[in-house]
C-alpha cells in the first residue's frame, strides 16, 4: 500500500479487518470479540497492533499474532505486533457480541468479575447447573453439566 493511502487508514478500518480474524481455539470468536487487541496505531510506514495474552502459557498467542499480521498483509499493509501485558487481560473485556457468539456455540459465557453469578446452560438456559471440573479443554474454560437438560457444556471461566 502506498504511504499516502496508509496514512488515510483509521483504527476502525483495521479493527474491522480484525473482526474477521478468528481465535484459533474458539473459532466463533474474533480476536476483537476476545478483547486481546489492545490498540491499533497507524504509523507512517506500518500499522502497529498491540496484543495481550489471555493466559501466560496460552498456545494460541503466536497463532493470533501470525493471523493478525496475515490479515493486514493481505491488504498490503505492513504490520508490527506489540505484545503488552499490562493491565492483564480479564474476561470483562469480552465483547457483548463475543458473549452472544459463545452462547450460540454452546459455551456458557463468563459472568462479571466480583459478582458470583449463576452459570446458565447455553442450551436450555436453566440455572440448575453444576461444575464437573475447574479445568477444561483450554486454560480459559471449565467443564459443567446441566441438571435440567442433562447436557454437558463448557463455561468460559471468569478471571
Amino acid at each position: 500500500m502506498p504511504a499516502e493511502q496508509l496514512q488515510r487508514l483509521t483504527k476502525e478500518d483495521v479493527l474491522g479487518w480484525l473482526e474477521e480474524v478468528a481465535d484459533p481455539e474458539i473459532p466463533v470468536l474474533s480476536v476483537v470479540d476476545l478483547g486481546v487487541i489492545r490498540d491499533v496505531r497507524v504509523h507512517a510506514d506500518a500499522v502497529e497492533v498491540s496484543v495481550t495474552p489471555t493466559y501466560s502459557g496460552c498456545p494460541a498467542m503466536e497463532v493470533i499474532e501470525q493471523r493478525v499480521e496475515a490479515a493486514l498483509a493481505q491488504r498490503g499493509v505492513p504490520a508490527t505486533i506489540r505484545r503488552v501485558l499490562s493491565p492483564p487481560w480479564t474476561t470483562d473485556w469480552l465483547s457483548e457480541e463475543g458473549r452472544r457468539k459463545l452462547r450460540e456455540f454452546g459455551i456458557a459465557p463468563p459472568g462479571r468479575r466480583g459478582l458470583d453469578l449463576p452459570v446458565a446452560c447455553p442450551r436450555c438456559r436453566s440455572l440448575d447447573t453444576g461444575r464437573v471440573s475447574e479445568f477444561g479443554s483450554t486454560p480459559c474454560k471449565s467443564a459443567w453439566r446441566c441438571n435440567a437438560c442433562l447436557e454437558p457444556f463448557e463455561h468460559f471461566k471468569c478471571i
Partner: protein, 252 residues
C-alpha cells in the same frame, strides 16, 4: 554485584522456578489419576512454561547479549539454574505433587503479589499476569490437601508424610541472599523473611482443615540459589535439554 547484575539474576531465578516446576508437571501429563486432574495438571504445566517464557524473555532483554529465552532454558548447564530445591523434587505419588504445589504456591502467590508493587515496571506486569493463574492453582491444590488429609486413614497418612518429606525444602524460599537483598533495596522487591509468617498462617489454616499436623522448622536444605541442586535435577534437565544437546539449533 552491580545493580543490573542482581536484577538479571533475580529475573532468571523466577524463570528457573517456573520452568523447572513446569517441566516437572509436564512429566506427569498422561499419568494423572482421573481426567479432571489430567486437564488441571496440563493447564498448570502450561501456565508455568508460559511464565518462564515471560521471565526469560525479559532476562534476555536485560542481559542484552543476544541470548534468547530458549538459550536460557536449553543451553545452560545445571549449576547455572538457580531455582528453589522444592520445585525440582520428583513427582512421587499424587499426594507428593499436591504437597509440592501447595507449599510452593502458598509462597509464590505472596511473592508475586509483592512483586506487582515493585519498582521494576516490567516485572510488576509479569507478576500481575502470573498471580491470577497461580491463585487458581493454589485453590485447587488446597482443596486436594483438605480432601486427602481429611479423607481415609490411608490418604491422611500419605498426605501427612508428603508434607513432612517436603517441609525441609521450604526454608530456602524465605532465606534471602545477596541477590534478593539487592533487588529489595534497588527495585523494591519483597523482604522474603517478612513473607514467612503469612505463609505459615495460610498453610496452617489449610492443614488444620485437612486435620494435618505441620512439622517443626528443623534443619532446612538450601543451595538452589547457588546452583547446587539435589540429585534429581540432573535427570530433569537431561531430559528437558536432550533435543537441543543432540541436535544443536534444531527448530520445529
Amino acid at each position: 554485584m552491580s545493580v543490573d547484575e542482581a536484577r538479571l539474576r533475580y529475573v532468571l531465578r523466577l524463570g528457573d522456578n517456573a520452568l523447572v516446576l513446569g517441566q516437572r508437571l509436564s512429566e506427569y501429563v498422561t499419568r494423572a489419576p482421573e481426567l479432571e486432574e489430567e486437564l488441571a495438571n496440563a493447564n498448570f504445566a502450561l501456565d508455568y512454561v508460559g511464565q518462564a517464557r515471560l521471565f526469560y524473555g525479559y532476562a534476555a532483554e536485560l542481559e542484552g547479549a543476544g541470548r534468547s529465552e530458549d538459550d536460557f532454558a536449553f543451553l545452560r548447564d545445571g549449576h547455572e539454574f538457580e531455582n528453589l530445591l522444592l520445585v525440582e523434587q520428583p513427582n512421587g505419588h499424587f499426594g507428593d505433587i499436591v504437597a509440592r504445589q501447595f507449599l510452593f504456591e502458598s509462597f509464590y502467590v505472596l511473592l508475586l503479589e509483592s512483586l506487582t508493587r515493585c519498582r521494576d515496571e516490567r516485572l510488576a506486569e509479569i507478576a500481575a499476569r502470573a498471580v491470577k493463574e497461580v491463585r487458581y492453582h493454589l485453590r485447587h491444590a488446597s482443596q486436594w490437601v483438605i480432601r486427602l488429609g481429611d479423607g481415609t486413614p490411608e490418604s491422611h497418612a500419605r498426605m501427612q508424610q508428603s508434607i513432612e518429606d517436603l517441609w525441609p525444602y521450604t526454608g530456602e524460599m524465605f532465606a534471602a541472599d545477596a541477590v534478593d537483598e539487592a533487588f529489595a533495596r534497588d527495585w523494591g522487591g519483597p523482604d522474603l523473611a517478612a513473607l514467612r509468617p503469612e505463609w505459615r498462617r495460610r498453610v496452617a489454616a489449610v492443614a488444620a482443615e485437612a486435620t494435618l499436623g505441620l512439622p517443626e522448622d528443623g534443619w532446612m536444605h538450601e543451595g538452589g540459589k547457588r546452583g547446587r541442586h539435589t540429585e534429581h535435577f540432573g535427570y530433569l534437565i537431561a531430559e528437558m535439554q536432550f533435543l537441543q544437546r543432540a541436535y544443536p539449533g534444531m527448530r520445529w
